[in-house]
């Protein structure tokens, strides 16, 4: 930012009201996540703070719900499935999405807006409709109730994230660099791996992390397409919330909050790393 936006000449009352309102909205955004964390250490099987917790007595807290996760083979299997599905679909989505974004970045691309809209549509189409369509179609080609089916579904749902981040990254990319590389004798493949890729890598990793987070959180296609073998963390949480709700869910939720915080901080760091490229 060249010119820092300064606080405008507001009356101090207005500014104060808005500041407190903003604090309120931030509280609304964050508080639900923060409440989950202490509740997951509840020694009792409740979703609310017990008197012992409120008075900070040590025996009001326990790690029993975390032990529950570690000892429950279902959660461990779900974790493994989620990671496998997440990694495979992210890899596919990143490769396909990056190629497509590079194609879209060329100014001579015909129907550019149409293709862009199509590639992003999995983000927009209601998930129940996508899942229902995939359920019928994947059943006829034998992919229902398979891990591969879910990987393909999650790839389709993860692609928009890669396309969006990569398009944004490439919009700041200086094409003269490619011409320079070619004029120095590099072939297009060498240019891609030695010049383009290192420069767009931060954007690509951000997109991949978005796609991974999307797959790691996706439950509807798993409910439609998955059989008993395809138990994932979100599916396990889903049935946990619907059937026997226990603080084990809150312990899992806490772990996921920690996980998403790490993802977010990684993406923010990548964004700063990426900033000099964009400035060119």
């Amino acid at each position: 930012m060249a010119d820092k936006p300064k606080r405008w000449d507001q009356t101090s009352l207005e500014a104060g009201v808005n500041r407190w309102f903003a604090y309120g909205v931030l509280f609304f955004l964050i508080a639900p996540l923060l409440v989950v964390i202490p509740l997951s250490f509840n020694a009792e099987p409740y979703f609310s703070f017990t008197d012992k917790m409120l008075t900070l007595q040590p025996d009001g807290f326990s790690l029993r719900w975390y032990r529950d996760i570690a000892e429950n083979p279902q959660w461990l299997e779900a974790m493994r499935n989620s990671v496998i599905i997440g990694l495979c679909s992210t890899a596919l989505a990143t490769v396909l999405g990056t190629l497509a974004a590079m194609g879209l970045a060329r100014s001579n691309m015909p129907f550019r807006d149409f293709f862009m809209a199509l590639l992003i549509s999995p983000l927009i189409v209601p998930i129940v409709i996508s899942a229902a369509g995939m359920y019928f179609f994947y059943s006829t080609i034998g992919l229902a109730q398979t891990t591969l089916g879910i990987i393909l579904a999650h790839t389709a749902l993860g692609v928009p994230f890669v396309v969006i981040t990569m398009t944004a990254t490439l919009s700041g990319f200086d094409n003269n660099l490619i011409r320079a590389s070619a004029s120095l004798g590099a072939n297009p493949v060498t240019t891609f791996f030695r010049v383009t890729l290192p420069l767009v890598a931060p954007g690509m990793i951000s997109g991949a992390l978005f796609a991974f987070a999307a797959s790691f959180d996706e439950v509807v296609t798993v409910l439609f397409l998955g059989g008993p073998e395809q138990r994932t963390i979100p599916r396990q949480m889903w049935s946990g919330i619907r059937e026997q709700i226990s603080p084990t869910i809150l312990a899992v939720a806490t772990l996921l909050i920690v996980f998403s915080t790490l993802l977010l901080l990684t993406v923010e760091m990548l964004r700063r790393w990426n900033a000099p490229v964009k400035a060119q």
């Binding site: 903003a22 639900p32 209601p126 969006i164 998403s260």
Partner: protein, 382 residues
């Protein structure tokens, strides 16, 4: 050229499946396949007056064969989607059909007097057509008379129109709430110095990155009868003041607003950053009171960002499924939940496809509008 691999992948894994599902909404060949002679006989009937005599003998024949081959259940279930009560009627009749002798019309009426109602035959005629709008008729709470006239269902049976209306109202309400909460926060963030701005932005992005199921679980923990919010209310206003905040419409709206709020804040904020601060100072120096300067100069310039965010929130809210399913109870369900119900519980796939087709049409119209208004290049994630 580089777009082709992804395009091919999406067409096969995403576009084609949705397309082929939507074809189910235009009827299917179950009735024509299992009751072929009846279908042929009814094709020559215009739906007015009585069905032709040939239809009676054809149906007697088809039903007794379907009963023998065990396919009667399939066609009976299919016909029940067309007209309530047809399932038991067909199964009952099929069991007797092998003993039917002319005059067939009397034989049918002896089993059940419903066969003297032309509407029953009309339902068979509609369902045996190769393509039929029957599922859309049901999806819009209409029934079709034998001759093809659409008649609205009685008001107390109008579940789908009610549900579409509720989905629209909830989506609009959530969008309005997101604007009311999001605009002031975006304004606040846009006017912070850079270091604090990044810190506060992370607080906005954290819920955005957190699993949807986690956020929904958090709201369940907060809002249930013995949850944190009600504990606070009870400690202030007494035990009697506990409110039903979840497993109803209130819960759906609160949780959806929370989940969609970042989609409103981020585009609004980034447009606000691009408004030169000098403009409002210019307005003030020309004599405008601060409020007028805000309302007449600043607000119109930031409106595109808020409109982009609001449109995205509205589009996403229309198709919301997970949150209403988990915290909506009976009164907070939206149209997506009904589609899931017909997909997985009632197994009325044609109706699910028709409801999905209507929802998809609405979403795609808004999406095209979004692409025109905002431009696909402006879509950013955080």
């Amino acid at each position: 050229m580089l777009v082709l691999p992804l395009l091919a992948f999406l067409v096969v894994s995403f576009v084609l499946p949705i397309g082929s599902m939507l074809t189910r909404s235009f009827g299917d060949s179950t009735v024509a396949d299992i009751l072929p002679r009846t279908a042929a006989a009814l094709r020559s009937w215009d739906g007015k007056g009585r069905p032709p005599f040939s239809a009676y003998s054809a149906l007697a024949d088809d039903l007794s064969r379907a009963n023998r081959t065990g396919q009667i259940g399939k066609v009976a279930t299919r016909m029940n989607f067309e007209r309530a009560g047809m399932r038991s009627l067909l199964i009952k009749t099929a069991r007797e059909a092998h003993g039917f002798v002319p005059p067939y019309a009397q034989a049918f009426n002896q089993v059940d007097l419903q066969w003297s109602d032309p509407e029953v035959w009309g339902a068979l005629r509609h369902a045996s057509a190769f393509t039929s709008a029957g599922y859309y008729v049901s999806a819009m709470d209409q029934t079709r008379k034998a001759d093809g006239m659409w008649v609205p269902k009685p008001e107390e049976e109008q579940i789908y129109l009610t549900l579409f209306a509720r989905t629209l109202v909830v989506a609009a309400g959530v969008t309005a709430l997101c604007f009311l909460l999001g605009y002031p926060l975006a304004y606040y963030i846009a006017h912070l110095d850079e270091r604090r701005r990044n810190l506060v932005l992370i607080l906005v992005l954290l819920p955005f990155w957190t699993s949807l199921l986690v956020r929904t679980t958090a709201w369940i923990a907060l809002l249930q009868t013995n949850g944190v919010v009600n504990d606070v209310i009870a400690s202030v206003a007494g035990e009697g003041a506990r409110m039903a905040l979840i497993h109803n419409m209130t819960g759906t709206i609160i949780a959806m607003t929370h989940i969609l709020l970042p989609f409103m804040i981020l585009p609004t904020y980034s447009v606000m950053l691009s408004v030169p601060p000098s403009l409002k100072r210019a307005a003030v120096s020309l004599g405008a009171p601060p409020w007028t300067a805000f309302w007449r100069v600043y607000f119109p310039m930031t409106l595109p960002g808020a409109a982009a965010g609001g449109l995205l929130v509205f589009i996403l809210a229309l198709g919301y499924y997970i949150t209403p399913a988990l915290v909506g109870g009976r009164t907070g369900q939206l149209i997506s939940n009904m589609i899931e119900f017909h997909m997985k519980t009632s197994l009325n796939w044609g109706l699910a496809a028709a409801l999905g087709g209507l929802l998809l049409a609405a979403v795609l119209v808004l999406y095209v509008f979004y692409a025109r208004l905002v431009g696909m290049n402006r879509l950013r994630l955080g």
